[in-house]
Symmetry: D2
Subunit: 141 residues, 4 copies
């Protein structure tokens, strides 16, 4: 178990994933407690044509990614998501979002992490949790 | 409460949403019990660079969309997602996916629907559920 | 992996658990697809003093038990619950409840099962899902 | 919306519920951020006959109760649980448990609250979340 200690190192790991790359996920903070990712705006992620609010599924992508990278940063491991939950608190208006991922429990077989997503005004727009199966680190690292 | 009875009518509603449009979601079946959506393959939706499997968050987008359209088809209403859950059963290999959405309970204030996602070999790759707040139909329809 | 094929055999396993025993859970059906448990009424399980409806947590106990026994019946194994979700569809009026548990996916490490809970009038009062970590069968069996 | 400001006032509300009363739930702290409930030990709540660990469903009862009372304390309202999730982190050995409930988001129609459950050694044994439909305060108060 080898932690990833640098923002650059974790960014490399984040961007290796094609969909995270498409979303433009950027690692903005990294500590023992968790990680912070920034997702820029892009027009394709709109869910509601009337309000322009972000698609709920995109917020789920952020939860899965950010909660997972909180564990990956702490362990260096590869993970498989067992399940994920997202609660929607208010519509996410157009603009960049920031996601805070934090480990809840790192067990022997599974790990659980939380994610909270804030808009530009620091309002909580969604929050969620995912549980992961811990696996060996990827071979190609 | 006016049901949407034609595949074309529901397809129009699905494609009005920019992210559903980007995903290329296609309505392939529609009945009183639920809806069936097809999501074509595109390279950007990969989650794992080593296996090429679909990003878990994208499967969550399908759950949110397909479960929601099962209720929208039955009611014609607009919905706000309260929360969503996704369970991942096996990696979704590259290729089109089919999602089956089905209403579990349509209450006065909220509605609950399930979604099961199958790959080309008809293997269940993920399944989930979302709960929605029922709202008035969109004005611009 | 040795399935439990008789109602008596599964009932013995259900009743070994002190809280299931207190709830009076009774195995009423058992097939390859799943199990059916009956929970009799008792005054202590009321959640709402004004309506007399069953406590939501008790319905969660039924989900955890019934979804789990669907997997235990198929495998004979012991399980540890990873997580559980319950959706509440309508108040469960005083009277016996019946829970239907069904396996969604039995993986190598984890298993997922659904549970639907019906009241005496066959109305769906709650439904949910749990994910379990598969473990070796208990030594003392 | 009238907050419940005293431990005695909230305890009265907790104990009005027959199953909470059976569990012996005791309000031990109350602040603007949330509530803290203590659940004493009793032999009937055992889930595992081999380890003596608490039944997972009982931990769900604590999540539903404690998350709900965090909102009830802040609003004085009556709630209906829409759904609940529980993650199990380690077996809860025999002994009293303490649950910490905290509001995540209080919306106009729904409210979301978290709950974390600790054993006597202050180990996190389970955590979860519930979403509630806000209703008028009960008439009989």
């Amino acid at each position: 178990m080898t932690a990833i200690n640098s923002i650059d190192g974790l960014q490399k790991r984040v961007s290796r994933c094609p969909f995270n790359h498409w979303l433009g996920l950027e690692v903005v903070a990294l500590s023992e407690r968790g990680v912070q990712l920034r997702m820029p705006w892009r027009n394709e992620i709109v869910g509601s044509p009337t309000t322009g609010a972000v698609h709920g599924g995109i917020l789920g992508c952020l939860v899965d990614a950010c909660a997972g990278f909180a564990i990956i940063a702490a362990t260096g491991e590869s993970l498989a998501t067992i399940d994920m939950r997202v609660d929607y608190h208010r519509p996410a208006a157009p603009g960049p979002l920031t996601a805070h991922g934090e480990i809840v429990k790192l067990g022997r077989t599974t790990g659980t992490a939380d994610c909270r997503i804030f808009d530009e005004r620091q309002e909580l727009v969604a929050s969620g949790r995912a549980v992961y199966l811990r696996r060996e680190p990827p071979q190609d690292q």
